[in-house]
C-alpha cells in the first residue's frame, strides 16, 4: 500500500465515515420498509456489512469515472453520489425514481453520476465494463472504470472473458470482487478452485490484491493504487475485498448455511462501528459532531422516504415508454 491510513486528512476520514453511515442507514430503512410490506418486488439485496467496499473504492475515483454495479448495489450507487430520494422512489416503483419505476432495486443506476447500473445477472457487468474501458482508451480521456461483482461471479464465464481481454488490451479497469464468502447459500470455498480470489489474477498476468474489506481506509488505499495504475495506462487490477453481508441474501433467506457465531464474529469487525471508534479514539472527531452528522443522515433518509412516498406512480398507459427511443 502506498498510503498509511493515518495519512488521510481528517475531513476525508470523516467523509468516508459519513458515506458509510449513509449507506448503512439507507439500507436499514430499506430493510424495515420491506419487512413492513411497504416495498413490492424481490426483497432487496442489502449491502449492510459491505459499506467499506463501496465507499473505500469509490472514494478513490473522480466524478467522471464509471462504475458498474451489482444486484447488491445500493451502496455503490450512494457512494457514487446518488440522491436518496430518487433511490427510494425507485425502490417504491415511483415515477420519480432513477429508472421511473421500470428497474427497481436490481437495476438502479445513476448514469449522470457515472453509475452505469446495477445488474440482475451475476457477472453480466464485466463485459460491459470492457466497452467503457475501450471507449476511454479511444477517447484518451484518462477516465477509469470500476466494475464490482461478488465472489460467486468469479465463476461465470463473463468474468473470465473480461479479465482476459482487459489485460490483453491494457484497459483502464479496476475489477473489484466483493468477497462476502457466499453466493446465496453456497460458500465460495466449496465451489471455487482458489480459496483466495485475487489468485485468479495469476491466470491473467494481472496484479491481484486482497484487502481487508472491513477497513475503509485500507480499501481506499488499495483501490487508489489500482486506479493510479489504470489511469496511467498500465492496465487492469483485480482487487478482492474481503467482506461480509450481515443479512441474508434477501429478506427471506434465514441463513441455514452458516452459524450465528460466524455472524457474531463478523459483527465485531463492523466497518462502520469500528471506524467510528477509531475516529473518536484518534481524536479526529467528537461524539457531538458525530451525533450531528448522524442526525443529518437521519433527516436525509426521512426526506428521501417522504419524497418517494409522496411521488406519483408511473402512468400505466406509458408502460412501454423507454423500450425504444422513438416511444
Amino acid at each position: 500500500m502506498t498510503e498509511a491510513s493515518s495519512s488521510l486528512d481528517p475531513q476525508t476520514r470523516i467523509s468516508l465515515y459519513r458515506q458509510m453511515l449513509r449507506i448503512r442507514k439507507f439500507e436499514e430503512k430499506t430493510h424495515e420498509l420491506y419487512k413492513a410490506g411497504r416495498l413490492t418486488g424481490m426483497s432487496p439485496h442489502l449491502c449492510i456489512g459491505e459499506e467499506a467496499s463501496a465507499v473505500g473504492v469509490i472514494s478513490a475515483l473522480n466524478p467522471d469515472d464509471y462504475i458498474l454495479s451489482t444486484h447488491r448495489g445500493h451502496g455503490h450507487c450512494l457512494a457514487k453520489g446518488a440522491e436518496m430520494g430518487k433511490m427510494y422512489a425507485e425502490l417504491f416503483g415511483k415515477e420519480t425514481g432513477y429508472c421511473h419505476g421500470r428497474g427497481g432495486s436490481m437495476h438502479i443506476a445513476d448514469v449522470a453520476k457515472g453509475n452505469l447500473g446495477a445488474n440482475g445477472i451475476v457477472g453480466a457487468g464485466c463485459p460491459i465494463a470492457l466497452g467503457a474501458g475501450l471507449s476511454i482508451q479511444k477517447r484518451h480521456t484518462k477516465q477509469v472504470v470500476v466494475c464490482f461483482f461478488g465472489d460467486a461471479a468469479t465463476n461465470q464465464g463473463t468474468f473470465h472473458e473480461a479479465m482476459n481481454m482487459s489485460k490483453a488490451f491494457r484497459l483502464p479497469i479496476v475489477w473489484v470482487c466483493e468477497n462476502n464468502l457466499y453466493g446465496l447459500s453456497t460458500p465460495i470455498e466449496n465451489v471455487a478452485a482458489t480459496p483466495t480470489l485475487s489468485d485468479r489474477a495469476r491466470g491473467y498476468n494481472m496484479p491481484g490484491v486482497t484487502v481487508d474489506g472491513m477497513d475503509v481506509e485500507a480499501v481506499r488505499a488499495a483501490a487508489q493504487e489500482a486506479v493510479v495504475r489504470a489511469r496511467a495506462g498500465e492496465g487492469p487490477t483485480l482487487l478482492e475485498v474481503k467482506t461480509y453481508r450481515y443479512f441474508g441474501h434477501g429478506a427471506s433467506d434465514h441463513r441455514p448455511y452458516r452459524t450465528r457465531e460466524e455472524e457474531q464474529d463478523w459483527w465485531k469487525r463492523c466497518p462502520v462501528a469500528n471506524f467510528r471508534r477509531k475516529l473518536l479514539s484518534e481524536g479526529v472527531t467528537t461524539e457531538a459532531d458525530l451525533a450531528e452528522l448522524e442526525q443529518k443522515i437521519d433527516a436525509e433518509v426521512a426526506a428521501g422516504i417522504a419524497f418517494a412516498e409522496s411521488s406519483p406512480d408511473p402512468e400505466p398507459e406509458k408502460s412501454t415508454l423507454y423500450v425504444y427511443t422513438e416511444d
Binding site: 418486488g41 424481490m42 419505476g101 421500470r102 427497481g104 445477472i121 461465470q156 453456497t186 408502460s319
Partner: protein
C-alpha cells in the same frame, strides 16, 4: 390422492424417480442442503446425498454442460436453472449442444436430460427475472418443452420428462409454487408429454393457454359464463410437441379461438397456435382469432406497470367481449348478443 402444493408435487416427482432409478441426479445452484432458490428441491439432498444432489458454482454453462455430459455417459440428470432468464448465459449449451447432439451424431447417443427452470412475472422481479421464454425453446427442434399449470400436471409431467430419452425443458412458474391441488400418490402416475388437457369444457369459444395463464383463463371463463358465454379452456401443457389435434377439435366445435400467454407477443406460442389454426381449420372460424400476450416491452418493476403489462382475467374478458362486435357471421353466431 392428497392435496399438495405445486412445489411439493415437483419435489415428490423427483424423489420418486430418484428412488426408482439411481441414474437420476439433480445438479444446480443451491439445490442441495438449501433446497433450491424456490425451495423446489427441499429434502432431496438429505435423502440422496451429495453424489446425487450436486451444488454447483454460479456457472450455468457448466451446469447445462454437466447435465449433457452425464446424460451422454449413462446418467439421467435433472439440471436446475434458477430462472429461465439465465438461459442467456448458457444458451449455446441448450441450443447447439443439448438440442442437436443426437441429430448431429446421427443417433449415436440419447440425451435423457431434464432442464428444470422457472419462468413468469407477477412478483415485481423486473426485466431480468420475470421472462417467459418458452417460445424460444419451442422454436428449437431437438427439445421438448413442458409447462405445467397444476400440481397434478407438474408431478405427472415431470416424471414423464425424467423418463424420456430426449432433452426436456421443464418450465415451472414462480407464482404457482404455492398453489394447491389433488396429486395422485401412485409412483407410476404419469402424464404423457405431448397431450393437452381440456381444463374446462365450453361450446362458444376455445381459449388455448399454458402455465399460470391457464388459471387466469379459467377465471375469465367463469366471468364469461356469468355473461352467458361458455368458453372451453385448453391447457397445452406440452408446447413441443404441441397437441394441435386437441386445439383443432375444440376450434371446430366452437368456431372461435383465443390464445393467451405470458410471453412477449411477437413470434410467441400464440403466433404458432393461431397460425396452425389458420392453416388447418380456417373454415371453422366464425371470428378472427385473438392473441393475448404480455405487452411488447421488458417486464417493468413497478407493480402498477407490471400489472398493466401482463394478461389478466379482466384483460382476457374485455378482449373477448370487445371481439363480439366484429364477429363475422354474426347472424348465425352463437356468440352474437
Amino acid at each position: 390422492m392428497a392435496e399438495k402444493t405445486y412445489r411439493e408435487a415437483i419435489i415428490e416427482a423427483m424423489a420418486e424417480e430418484m428412488r426408482r432409478d439411481e441414474r437420476v441426479v439433480l445438479i444446480g445452484e443451491d439445490v442441495g442442503r438449501f433446497g433450491g432458490a424456490m425451495g423446489a428441491s427441499k429434502g432431496l439432498f438429505q435423502e440422496f446425498g451429495s453424489d446425487r444432489v450436486i451444488d454447483t458454482p454460479i456457472s450455468e454453462a457448466a451446469i447445462i454442460g454437466s447435465g449433457l455430459g452425464m446424460a451422454l455417459t449413462g446418467q439421467r440428470p435433472i439440471a436446475e436453472l434458477m430462472f429461465i432468464d439465465f438461459s442467456g448465459v448458457c444458451m449455446d449449451q441448450i441450443l447447439n449442444q443439448v438440442a442437436k447432439v443426437r441429430y448431429m451424431l446421427g443417433g449415436q447417443v440419447k440425451v435423457p436430460l431434464v432442464i428444470r427452470t422457472q419462468a413468469g412475472a407477477g412478483k415485481g422481479y423486473a426485466a431480468q427475472h420475470s421472462q417467459s421464454l418458452e417460445a424460444w425453446f419451442t422454436h428449437v427442434p431437438g427439445l421438448k418443452v413442458v409447462m405445467p399449470a397444476t400440481p397434478r400436471d407438474a408431478k405427472g409431467l415431470l416424471k414423464s420428462a425424467i423418463r424420456d430419452d430426449n432433452p426436456v425443458m421443464f418450465i415451472e412458474h414462480k407464482l404457482l409454487y404455492n398453489t394447491k391441488g389433488e396429486v395422485p400418490e401412485d409412483p407410476d402416475f404419469l402424464i404423457p408429454l405431448g397431450v393437452a388437457e381440456v381444463k374446462r369444457e365450453g361450446s362458444d369459444l376455445t381459449i388455448v393457454s399454458h402455465s399460470r395463464q391457464v388459471l387466469n383463463c379459467l377465471e375469465a371463463a367463469g366471468e364469461l359464463s356469468r355473461q352467458g358465454i361458455e368458453a372451453e379452456v385448453i391447457d397445452l401443457r406440452t408446447l413441443r410437441p404441441m397437441d394441435f389435434e386437441a386445439v383443432k377439435a375444440s376450434v371446430e366445435k366452437t368456431g372461435r379461438l383465443v390464445s393467451v400467454e405470458e410471453g412477449y407477443p411477437q413470434c410467441g406460442i400464440g403466433a404458432e397456435v393461431v397460425a396452425r389454426v389458420a392453416e388447418h381449420c380456417m373454415d371453422s372460424l366464425d371470428m378472427p382469432p385473438i392473441r393475448i400476450a404480455s405487452k411488447d416491452s421488458p417486464i417493468p418493476f413497478a407493480r402498477i406497470l407490471e400489472q398493466e403489462t401482463l394478461p389478466s382475467p379482466r384483460r382476457i374478458v374485455e378482449r373477448i367481449l370487445a371481439a363480439r362486435k366484429w364477429t363475422r357471421h354474426s347472424q348465425d353466431s352463437r356468440l352474437a348478443v
